[in-house]
Symmetry: C3
Subunit: 160 residues, 3 copies
């Protein structure tokens, strides 16, 4: 199965519409291609117009819900890369993801939440999904979302 088919399959499991316009809040670009690197802006678990998973991990939301939110953020990043590069086959590696988890004061499973994004990257990209990661528990996030994830991808540029 191709990566793009794999993407479709995982997205279906999350009820994530892969061809929708990715709505972006604020005054910036969601993806910036800089040579062979593609920077993706911090993604919250927005599906279409709606932000899902509003709340704090270990408080109003469970670990499992927060993990799913991180998965949606990863799907959004892949949708953005596919739009910018034509196909997910362009991805060679993922040098860095940063996972910010809106956390209840005593919640310390930020790594387990971040696994939700890591799982999506590995399931769709295989070995090219390998990445370094930083997981942090924060007080708040835009729209009150439980997770926000940003990404640096290494991609094959079109002239190759």
């Amino acid at each position: 199965m191709s990566r793009d088919q794999q993407f479709q399959q995982v997205a279906d499991r999350f009820a994530f519409p892969v061809d929708d316009d990715i709505k972006i809040g604020g005054k910036y670009t969601p993806v910036l291609l800089d040579g062979d690197l593609a920077y993706v802006a911090g993604q919250i678990p927005r599906i279409g117009e709606t932000v899902h998973f509003i709340g704090d991990a270990g408080g109003t939301l469970s670990l499992e819900e927060a993990r799913r939110a991180a998965g949606v953020s990863a799907l959004r990043a892949l949708a953005l890369i596919r739009r910018a590069c034509g196909s997910l086959d362009a991805i060679v590696a993922v040098p860095r993801i940063s996972v910010f988890v809106r956390s209840a004061p005593d919640f310390t499973q930020q790594s387990e939440v971040a696994d939700g994004a890591s799982d999506v990257l590995f399931e769709i990209l295989g070995d090219a999904g390998v990445h370094t990661r930083t997981s942090v528990g924060v007080l708040q996030l835009p729209k009150g979302a439980v997770a926000e994830v940003d990404f640096i991808f290494r991609v094959r540029t079109t002239d190759k």
Copy 2:
């Protein structure tokens, strides 16, 4: 109007002295040139020796004050780049900015605060100010500042 003139004009609006020494706390360098990338350390809204905008967004400070603070952080970054590269004309793009907003517990407008930095980048750099962005709400920041912003710029190196 040149970018450097534009910088002067925006800085005047913020009462930001563009030629002052940029005081830096801690044991590190404010700018590191790495090939064509210029990394700028996290900037709080310090003007001269004084940190302005101390407090939390949505608590002791308003959204508008926090947004202005993010603007000052962006001016500081531009002042540092101008010093390191000779002119703001060296800037080609801004692959990533990270905006940390000291937030009241229920404040979720971190993106709107970050617009304060984005606006300064676009107003002074035009198309070269395009950037990806991550906005996060945190519990505290150095000196109690309401915002801290770090930057990666792509610059034209001197040998070109």
Copy 3:
């Protein structure tokens, strides 16, 4: 004294076993070599199997304890780079470190905590330890650690 000897000496002061396996939680790689850059995942102050310095800076832990925790995180990063590159002599510069400090609500000395990581980098790497830095106060961190630090190193690749 060589950098690797210097590393041993500083590590001894922290009771940090430089040749232990670096245990990593979660589903990702601790180091990713991307051309001349080595990305190191967020490091908490784990020594062997045990996470040390659990608590919040300015609350259950002192500034000095938090600073030491940041130092251990830096030692872990250097141990990972040494394993990936063969020797710390491979390091040319450190474009960026991000220091997340689990903070009591009114603790604003995140820069002073981050100095613990900066000191280790400078003591072992000398001029090549120069770096830009972002220090942020967060609500929680994985395992309840007081500090987490991630790194981007510039390294000499093996073909040179």
